[in-house]
Symmetry: C2
Subunit: 175 residues, 2 copies
């Protein structure tokens, strides 16, 4: 795998394990979507058809979605080596738009950001991201933004990244 | 594409166009998930990384999901050349289980079945499928089952396959 791919792997692994835990305990059904690819050529001569040429596509939505407490939940996971924050440019425009659309349709939508060098994970809801961009013309979602407008995730073992704890906390207030 | 792939293409095309219409009119956000594949080998030497070996994986969930009226919606699309019905064996077991799980979590989940030779499309909700299997040991979801326990979709132009019309009709009763 390329460096680009490798970087996100560890975080993805623990997120997937967290979602497995939520499913096994019947708390929520949340899945990572398959990586979108554009298939160019397939060899159908073998019993297991072999894709022998394909490209990675730009995702039109986000990485994760599912159902929690009957509601639609949708989020994108990002990882950064920065100690300052996550650049807005690291999020595809249509992904940001998708998260806002979900919010407008009454769903739960957010970014979950892993600060690799700090070992800290934060959530910020899409309406808060919109506020930061629209009113403050923010180019970077900084740690201080996240501490003020976001929510720090408690890390553990079962599950590893208990992001639904934050959803529960604010559920009464927002949903 | 193989015959297996070709068969579903037309139905998939009109479903995707229907979902585009729902998105453009801001009625719902429903997407087809990317085809799950298992990547074996990638050439990173080119600027656009080329996947040069991959296999189709068995999907762990369904083809379509999204949000409608704030609720989670999830369904699998099937097509048949039969005039009798859809064999249960044509649905992966974990897909059926997934649809039932969604129902148990308070989501809207169903099969949408296209009878190619009749030009008719039906919806059947997952709880009804479970009833048919559990109480009647049904092996085939027949046209008469669909007429009794399912809902026929009105076909049109904008959108082509207005399945949310059925959801609206029964929304008050079930959700």
């Amino acid at each position: 795998m390329s460096n680009h791919k490798k970087r996100g792997m560890e975080f993805e692994y623990y997120l997937n394990k967290t979602n497995d835990f939520y499913r096994l305990t019947n708390k929520a059904l949340i899945y990572k979507k398959p990586t979108p690819i554009q298939i160019v050529s397939v060899d159908y001569s073998k019993q297991n058809h072999v894709i022998n040429k394909a490209f990675f596509s730009i995702p039109s939505t986000t990485d994760y979605n599912g159902i929690y407490r009957g509601k639609y939940i949708d989020f994108e996971a990002k990882q950064t080596n920065s100690l300052i924050g996550l650049s807005i440019s690291q999020i595809h425009k249509h992904q940001l738009l998708h998260l806002l659309n979900v919010y407008n349709h009454g769903g739960i939508s957010f970014l979950i950001i892993y600060f690799k060098k700090l070992g800290e994970i934060y959530i910020i809801f899409s309406n808060k991201i919109k506020e930061l961009i629209d009113t403050n013309n923010v180019k970077v979602i900084s740690l201080s933004h996240l501490k003020k407008y976001g929510h720090k995730i408690r890390l553990g073992i079962s599950p590893y990244i208990d992001y639904l704890e934050v959803i529960d906390e604010i559920y009464q207030k927002y949903f």
